[in-house]
Symmetry: C2
Subunit: 290 residues, 2 copies
Amino acid sequence: MSKPLYGLVEAGGTKFVLGIAHGPDEVLATTRIPTTTPDETIAAMCNWLAGQGPLVAVGVATFGPVEVDRTSLQWGHILATPKAGWSNTNLVGPLVQRLGCPVGLDTDVTAAALAEYRWGAGQGQPSVLYFTIGTGVGGGAVIGGKPLAGISHPEMGHIRLPLHPEDVGFGGVCPFHGTCLEGLASGPAVKARYGVSLSELPGDHIGHDVVAWYIAQAAVTAQAMFEPGRIVLGGGVMDTPGLIDRVRCTAERLGNGYFRSRAGEIVTLPGLGDRSGLLGALALAEAALR
Amino acid sequence: MSKPLYGLVEAGGTKFVLGIAHGPDEVLATTRIPTTTPDETIAAMCNWLAGQGPLVAVGVATFGPVEVDRTSLQWGHILATPKAGWSNTNLVGPLVQRLGCPVGLDTDVTAAALAEYRWGAGQGQPSVLYFTIGTGVGGGAVIGGKPLAGISHPEMGHIRLPLHPEDVGFGGVCPFHGTCLEGLASGPAVKARYGVSLSELPGDHIGHDVVAWYIAQAAVTAQAMFEPGRIVLGGGVMDTPGLIDRVRCTAERLGNGYFRSRAGEIVTLPGLGDRSGLLGALALAEAALR
């Protein structure tokens, strides 16, 4: 009996990463297609996957907002988004129609949390949060092995935070909330203040402390709200050398020994590196088959 | 066949409320005992419950921090607490020994969330958060019908918040975090600023706006982290006339239309009034029997 072959989709605002895999250690092929119009991008996605042979299931880890409620008629649709042309786009329907197999879908960050829970830094933990700190900031959670959703998926990038004393006066870049986590710690927020990315700043620049402080505030808020087993921090900004250690130290200091978990232990980089997203799609595909 | 009789314990720092019930609409008797020493208080609790006839199960909704992990040897123990003499107190053991029936236990706020989910303002919702805003501030959650816990129960009262522009300079009353939610919006935080409780302030006093703003920040943070179906606000501070409407309006404004849920719809007073805690104990007792 041949091993089941899964189709993987990591749908982002600038590119779609596609793949096929037997399992987390057997990703057989991947490709990238640019995110252009929905019609063009979705056709290219379906064509590539259909050409890889019979798939038992497909997992889609997507940018949001997206309808994650399987009982909704809108399930699998991108909801109102500033990304031109993509509001109300059905990501799942064309895959089901073309490939005739079960499809699982969640946000990219919830999928990454699932991958880290199953195969990465969150293995064996009662709950795992995953934040991406990049061009945008988002977060997802897996609790008791299940993706967290309420009446929709979380929007963890949009928690409002106190301003760092050295950052007072900065209004943040989030068009909705100004000084929320995304408005303060995303890549564009760093560039808006300092003109360059965090890794381009000198190592002794205050910007390192400021950005670490905001990410640490988010981590401590996550501790208070969930007391999770792991808080995994991914995304381009987290590639900055030394940042994870600054975040850990600052979060320890902010928590001040109050929480059961120690930030220095539970705050971590992805165990799967930059594969969290695509392997999240694999986890969603496997779940869709069950 | 006679209806099952449940024992209910709402364990607080100043008093224990005890009760027996067949169900949420059939609470047959309640009593209050002062919280003195653990030995004295626990003996009085066991005596009263034992005198009520055979109980099929007991539910304990308690102040924290408390070990909620049933697989831990410390399960049901109050953990390190500033309340003199109560650290490492076993709440569950004496009940099991004396009454010989299953015991369920969780924090008072998680129990209240469970009661609101089952019989109150959160019925039919995918997830329900319950905050108490009183002498202390805490929060709990029920997700997919299950109490939320990670490596411990949440400590939602200790999220740090931005300061209200009219409140800059106030350092908060939380000995651990200063200006966290508890440090800014608890009863003692109100008295530290204004000398009286919120309901004793004139209706046009800025304190109403300031406190509502902090509670609204917490509600919006909860929206971002969970997108819950309901955020239930209980506790003595919420008895202030007009406060819930101020919180709703402010939360709508702070969220700025970004979240899927509307704060004006999901932020609510307890559907069970001041019975959330004791009926939470009932929900825990029922769960212990299953």
